[in-house]
Symmetry: C2
Amino acid sequence: MTRIAICAPACPITPEDAALVEAIAGDYGVRVHVHPQCFASAGHFAGDDATRLAAFLDCANDPGFDAVWFARGGYGSNRIAQSAVTQLSAAAAHKRYMGYSDMGYLLGALYRARVGVACHGPMVADGRRIGGEAALRRALSFFAGEKQGLEPSLAGEKHPVVAFNLTTLAMLAGTPIMPGLAGHVVMIEEVSEYLYAIDRLMFHVSAHLGGVAGVRLGRVSDVPDNDRPFGAEASEIVADWCARHAIPFLGGADIGHDADNRIVPFGLASGAHPQ
Amino acid sequence: MTRIAICAPACPITPEDAALVEAIAGDYGVRVHVHPQCFASAGHFAGDDATRLAAFLDCANDPGFDAVWFARGGYGSNRIAQSAVTQLSAAAAHKRYMGYSDMGYLLGALYRARVGVACHGPMVADGRRIGGEAALRRALSFFAGEKQGLEPSLAGEKHPVVAFNLTTLAMLAGTPIMPGLAGHVVMIEEVSEYLYAIDRLMFHVSAHLGGVAGVRLGRVSDVPDNDRPFGAEASEIVADWCARHAIPFLGGADIGHDADNRIVPFGLASGAHPQ
């Protein structure tokens, strides 16, 4: 029996979101505990900073759980991530932590602090998407020890890897919770940004990726139409900025803000999957 | 007679934009030269990178001009700024350079390189705004040597100052064109961003402002409505992130994406205004 604690360091979910996960977790021998903070609300957030921080620590520091699954992104985990990693106990070190989008702040902070295994992958709120139950099942299967939900390039990857939403990585860069990424393959994805904003973010991020082994580009989805065409596709933009900084552009990655988002455990593939 | 060269390092203007400036420049004893590149177009930009770079260098390196006035923001000056400052001649050192928004990349690069006087202030395209002719007249008056268009806090300021659009400053941070800002008062302004994005940008920027003398907040305008209230106003957000990094929050600044945008010459007020 794998035991998973669910909390919401950014924005809240609904009881219906939680019920969908609870209904199918048993198929994978997984028992989920949904922290009541997941349904809290304070302005933009699932409770104020102190409430969200306490809930994360409840989940991470409880030796009765094998993993912490983030309920939803949105915005807000950056406000508690630095404080969170200073308050973790030994019980936090043996867990997987999974989410994406705004959760990249916590994943980055955990990876920098070398606590547990940070994993970029589906969240509870993905159940709302068309085809979203498959994303939930991919996550539950991964928590149960299966590997078929992993991002495909990992099978042949010799470098340590990380994955981030591009905006999240841009905002992480240079902050006290940014992990060192020298020697890493860095996967990025983005949603709902103009192509000029992708170019602007790559200008910034590429300047912060000195020494990385390479960049892979996941899906760039829901790009809004601007009043005129940008003049380059997202993959050309990423390749251009990588070239300006002599960063190898390694091609695609099977990640994105969608139900097909595959799982990327941070670090060396050989080390990320304890048997 | 003050001679000003106008170029467009990001997005193009129209002949009507140029004509408005040409019609009133004589009132201030100013002669403007509008580089034909201002009307070029290549995808998102006012010509491709090489075209925009060459036009900027034409203007900056010509000893026949006293100032370079940027025509319009949008997006794109970051793509040429690093290259631009490596190709400046002695004639570039005696000029003022004025713009805002996306032009912050060039202002930052010039200030880092200690070339001329970078000035945050109105651009040619501001003539389109309601009340925009006043912005053009403020700029022309400043170029002619008058001081009444200066941001009011400068009169009593003992620290060197800079001013940036918040997104522009966030993207500049950590790049090869970011100036050192220790000891500076940093003025920021923003337009058309959600409050959660302001919070996210401040999380990032405040981590990059170690050693600054303080932050002043200009106008935060056209904030879109989100599906729920954020829970704090822009000034509270800025004060919060300043407090987290022990940066003095000094209050307001009379700058913004509007016709009232006052002028901020970078550096010490005493040094920015040669008599």
